[in-house]
């Protein structure tokens, strides 16, 4: 078996959420690698949008640190305004979006703004960026984050990026257009959402992770899917591709 990092496994799990031909709101870090991996494997016709205004149908010619790096614009099919790209989301043209988060709750609501709520503000985090927009407006949402007790909480203290709010029907009542989260890819497993209650459940465990461990670092009584599977590990080919786009392991902690 090939050695790989947790981040590399997360990239592979992320790539699998992308279907061929989809328009994907990519973002940076692991999601960008997931997008590049998907394009190089099962989703060659997927296209990626970046919030600075860029649409790419082929990978950049050099590894990227930010979406504004010169190689991300060079060779793009469209480099327009941020407003045009964000309105693709609002218009409902984006199939899938990826975001990260500092704190998440049972219904997939994310906090990347104030830990401890706004008034007490124990920690000021960087804020929404485009995360809230993607969570609100993308057709499907995939969340990528570390699985830690302080991050998986019963109720987030501040909703930066809405998941399913208080459960089933909440997005519709709130007037949100996008479909909401379909997967949370963590350092320990992949979690999905009950179609009715919209509560998060554990769908697959990463190789080496145990159910007990996951439950321990999840701040509510976590449900487990009917058939708890093991997340398929990266293949050698997948790792090669990831390492091509993150040659120094900057994002994948190699």
């Amino acid at each position: 078996m090939t050695d790989y990092t947790k981040s590399e496994l997360m990239v592979v799990a992320g790539a699998r959420e992308i279907k061929d031909g989809e328009l994907v709101f990519v973002g940076m870090r692991l999601p960008l690698l997931a997008f590049q991996l998907a394009k190089a494997t099962h989703a060659p016709n997927a296209q990626g949008v970046f919030e600075n205004g860029v649409l790419r149908d082929r990978p950049a010619g050099k590894p990227l640190f930010t979406m504004g790096d010169a190689p991300c614009i060079e060779g793009a099919v469209w480099a327009t305004t941020m407003l045009d790209i964000m309105t693709l989301l609002q218009k409902g043209r984006v199939d899938l979006g990826f975001i990260g988060g500092a704190e998440i709750d049972r219904y997939g609501n994310l906090n990347t703004t104030y830990i401890g709520g706004r008034e007490r503000a124990e920690v000021r985090l960087p804020g929404s960026g485009g995360g809230s927009d993607i969570a609100s407006l993308a057709g499907r949402l995939v969340i990528v984050m570390n699985h830690e007790r302080r991050r998986f909480v019963e109720r987030v203290s501040y909703i930066t990026s809405p998941g399913y709010g208080e459960g089933g029907g909440w997005r519709e009542r709130t007037g949100l257009k996008g479909g909401g989260p379909v997967a949370v890819i963590t350092t320990l497993g992949v979690l999905r959402f009950d179609p009715e209650t919209k509560e998060m459940f554990l769908d697959s465990l990463h190789p080496g992770a145990s159910l007990g461990e996951v439950k321990d670092v999840t701040g509510w009584p976590l449900r487990v899917g009917a058939e708890l599977r093991e997340t398929p590990p990266p293949t050698r080919k997948e790792l090669e591709i990831i390492r091509k786009y993150d040659p120094n392991g900057f994002w994948t902690n190699r």
Binding site: N52, F65, M67, C72, M82, R124, G127, I159, T174, G175
Partner: protein
């Protein structure tokens, strides 16, 4: 002619204490670092900073004590995560407390676009269901008179001054900007004044050879600064790429208040202007970021 100024003059003339200043509107590239550093050196105070993703320039201005408020979607260090000066300011009031109006990337675009368009607000489907309604009292909700659906309303932002860095402009301020555009056009159209710093001042003929490339016309521009490397460590498409290591070092070295003070002195306060900054880094060192693999736009004919 009258619009060509040094950065020192441009900031002195067009940025006042208490102003709302839009900066970093092209996102990660084309950040007007040189202008921001001059604002710090001139000790401007009580600024409101407006920008989507500010990267470390906002963090530096907050740490230097220039800022009383931020209207933003994200602030920190894009590749490293948090900005420590911002955290110290919000969590501990060091060097001073600041107010934050939280928006998202999309809604900050809408706010600047409303300002650009001369309308008081923009209706949108983003922001609904978020706690931005708590931390930004200016967002409202309404029921759509056409569809009955819920809409969030984002009020217009009209900055006193927008500062952008671009590839080239003529002496009147007619500006070509390419690559990552972000929300730069809307910010310039919304603002009362615009300062443009550029890699090159070019003849008018260069600009009018390609009027679709013009980001903003000169009549909206108050001052034009010829400032090569004015966006370093951020990228300028076709001129230089991003100096990622600079951001990594900033992250490492500004973790503490003392570390930040050292950085501020070393890279901003003790550096007279951008040409001295270039000397300090070393022209040779900077050549690493220059274009190594040319890719020119294919010809476009405007004749008749």
């Amino acid at each position: 002619m009258g619009k060509i100024l040094s950065m020192n003059q441009a900031i002195e003339r067009f940025v006042n204490d208490g102003d709302c200043v839009a900066l970093g509107t092209a996102l990660e590239p084309l950040i007007p670092f040189s202008a921001g550093h001059e604002i710090i050196r001139q000790g401007k105070r009580d600024l409101t900073l407006i920008g989507p993703i500010s990267d470390i320039l906002f963090d530096q201005m907050v740490g230097a004590g220039c800022v009383s408020k931020m209207v933003m979607a994200w602030a920190g260090n894009v590749i490293m995560g948090v900005g420590y000066s911002l955290r110290r300011a919000v969590e501990k009031g060091i060097p001073r407390g600041i107010e934050i109006e939280d928006l998202t990337n999309f809604s900050i675009c809408l706010a600047l676009n409303a300002g650009a368009m001369g309308i008081p607000f923009f209706p949108t489907k983003t922001l609904l269901g978020t706690d931005m309604f708590q931390s930004n009292s200016r967002i409202k909700e309404m029921v759509c008179p056409y569809t009955g659906e819920r809409l969030a309303l984002v009020p217009a932002l009209v900055p006193d001054v927008a500062i952008i860095h671009a590839q080239r402009a003529d002496e009147e301020g007619n500006t070509h900007l390419w690559g990552s555009i972000g929300v730069s056009k809307e910010a310039c159209l919304a603002s009362d004044r615009v300062i443009v710093s550029v890699e090159e001042i070019v003849e008018r003929e260069v600009i009018v050879s390609d009027p679709n490339r013009t980001l903003i016309p000169g009549f909206l521009v108050s001052g034009v600064v010829h400032e090569p490397w004015g966006a370093h460590p951020s990228a300028v498409q076709g001129y230089y790429d991003r100096d990622h290591e600079h951001y990594m070092r900033y992250h490492k070295e500004t973790r503490t208040e003392k570390g930040f003070a050292r950085w501020l002195d070393q890279w901003i306060l003790s550096v007279q202007d951008r040409s001295k900054y270039i000397d300090k880094i070393g022209v040779g060192e900077l050549q690493r970021f220059r274009v190594a693999r040319s890719h020119e736009a294919m010809p476009v004919e405007y004749g008749y």
